[in-house]
């Protein structure tokens, strides 16, 4: 998946949690600093980083809060360092100001959100209630994060490598949006070593002291006439260019009459439901967006143009469905089934909604 793959040759599988795969993937990607504050259900990430990073010559800091974590991330990013923070929903809310600053001053960094049930303190179970926050911008102003949504432990690993690559490619914060399912489950993961981060990464903008060159400035304040508008135009152009990174898994879509759209853990649970229904002869397929921003809208639009119907399934009260509807608008609409945060979803829960949508308009 990442563009700088170098296989080590020994595809030995290790059996680890998604959270651990996140940490392993980050280390493989050359992550040198971790900043974070404990919160369930992602504590395996800081815990693993706290013993692994110092050995890897990096720095682990337990920050005083998520506000501080995100700002430490901003600082390390300004120094051109591959750095990571992770948290879960309430903690991510506290990072919104810093995230907006990072986007505004074009600083790369990776933020993992192991989404839990909300709103408020909610619970510690899985949820997809933070889609809007991640994709539309929980912070202020017009900005976008690149948002990757792993559904397997292997993807947790792979997407961390991809996340760091994308962050530095676009000089933009990247969010990896999982949930308590993918974080807590264990699967075999094949670790792989991407090519080492080139020493030149960020060399033309990172802060390191202005020896022999003009001082550099990384900022988001643009007071001069038209300067902020210019920065916003630049950012919008960048976000448009990111569209090239959109990615999704397609499963049995070719002959499908109904396309289920679901991401992350819900995507794989939906896959089980689809397998059951296929066994009964129902022509249903799955599109599982792996990038939530950029959203794989063109793919969906193409399927809509083929006359397929749509059902969006989420573990929330209806968020990504808006992007699905916007993607295929003018052609067809998407039905929606929202599994309530606070209840554990299983593939059986999705059977009736899918059959409904197959029968429906």
């Amino acid at each position: 998946m990442p563009h700088n793959t170098t296989d080590t040759g020994t595809p030995e599988r290790i059996f680890i949690k998604g959270n651990e795969a996140i940490a392993h993937g980050a280390l493989a990607a050359g992550c040198r600093c971790y900043f974070g504050y404990p919160i369930t259900p992602q504590n395996d990430i800081p815990e693993m980083m706290s013993y692994a990073l110092p050995d890897a010559g990096g720095e682990f800091v337990q920050a005083e809060s998520e506000v501080a974590s995100a700002n430490m991330l901003l600082g390390a990013a300004a120094a051109g360092i591959r750095a990571l923070t992770s948290s879960s929903s309430p903690g991510i809310s506290l990072m919104q100001e810093a995230i907006s600053y990072m986007a505004g001053s074009e600083l790369p960094g990776v933020i993992v959100n192991m989404n839990r049930g909300g709103p408020g303190l909610g619970d510690i179970g899985p949820s997809q209630g933070d889609y809007f926050q991640s994709v539309k911008g929980g912070g202020h102003g017009d900005y976008k994060l690149l948002v990757l949504a792993p559904a397997t432990c292997q993807e947790c690993y792979d997407m961390m490598v991809q996340a760091f690559d994308l962050a530095f490619k676009y000089r933009n914060p990247v969010m990896v949006l999982g949930d308590a399912i993918v974080g807590q489950m264990k699967e075999p993961v094949t670790p792989w070593k991407p090519a080492a981060v080139p020493a030149t990464e960020a060399a033309d903008w990172r802060l390191e002291g202005a020896k022999g060159r003009k001082p550099r400035l990384l900022k988001s304040l643009f007071l001069e006439d038209g300067a902020l508008a210019g920065q916003n135009r630049h950012l919008q152009a960048k976000y448009a260019a990111m569209q090239a990174e959109a990615k999704a898994e397609s499963f049995l879509t070719e002959d499908a009459e109904l396309i289920v759209v679901a991401y992350g853990s819900i995507g794989r649970i939906a896959k089980s439901a689809i397998r059951k229904l296929r066994a009964q002869g129902h022509k249903v397929g799955l599109v599982r967006p792996q990038t939530l921003f950029p959203f794989p809208g063109p793919l969906l639009r193409g399927l809509a143009e083929q006359g397929k119907r749509f059902l969006t399934i989420e573990h929330n009260c209806g968020q990504m469905v808006e992007d699905v509807r916007l993607s295929i608008r003018g052609i067809v609409d998407s039905a929606f089934y929202g599994h309530m945060p606070g209840e554990m979803p299983g593939s059986d829960d999705f059977l009736a909604p899918i059959l409904d949508a197959m029968g429906g308009k």
């Binding site: 059996f15 619970d123 179970g125 308590a180 807590q184 264990k186 439901a273 397998r275 829960d349």
Partner: protein, 180 residues
């Protein structure tokens, strides 16, 4: 779906169901299959009971969470009450008949009753009842080769306790044999 099996294993906190869940998952992995393992997660964790779900398949695995499992390992009475109703018709359950009233087993499912505590006791340590139950489960379902399970013990028992591995292998075998 050449090969697909899922199982919920449940018992008291101290009965080691997480351990055999991990062990079965490792065995599946070592047999070259896809596996998922997920512990119950949430407030239940603090209570006295524990359970986990393992899926083994030669295809990629969809849901790691199973509402109507194909099989069960039931180590205590509350777990029978909770999970038997969810078991698929014709599914397999291994009951620890040392602690579970096997007469409550429903006819619509296939039940393998194993006095796991007693067998383990005889082998010298009641704590290995979990291994006995897993051995029986492997025999009952044939999901993986028992030898692979035994070899996988090193993955779940830390080096510090490696001297216990032979005993655990014995317990696996005893369960396997009992279910025969």
């Amino acid at each position: 779906m050449a090969l697909y099996q899922d199982v919920i294993m449940a018992g008291f906190g101290g009965q080691g169901v997480m351990l055999i869940g991990n062990l079965l998952a490792y065995a599946g992995m070592n047999a070259g299959l896809n596996v998922t393992y997920i512990p119950v997660y949430g407030p239940e964790m603090r209570g006295g009971t524990a359970n986990c779900t393992v899926v083994v398949s030669d295809e990629d695995i969809g849901s790691p969470i199973i509402q109507r499992p194909k099989s069960l390992i039931v180590m205590n009475q509350p777990s029978l009450d909770k999970f038997q109703p969810r078991l698929e018709d014709g599914g397999v359950q291994v009951l620890n008949s040392s602690l579970v009233d096997a007469s409550q087993a429903e006819a619509r499912v296939r039940t393998v009753a194993v006095p796991a505590n007693d067998i383990a006791d005889k082998l010298g340590n009641t704590k290995m009842a979990n291994m006995v139950a897993l051995g029986a489960y492997v025999r009952a379902t044939g999901v993986v080769d028992l030898e692979v399970v035994k070899k996988s013990l090193t993955s779940v028992i830390s080096a510090h306790y490696s001297h216990l591995i032979p005993k655990n292998a014995e317990a696996l075998q005893a369960g396997f044999d009992h279910a025969g």
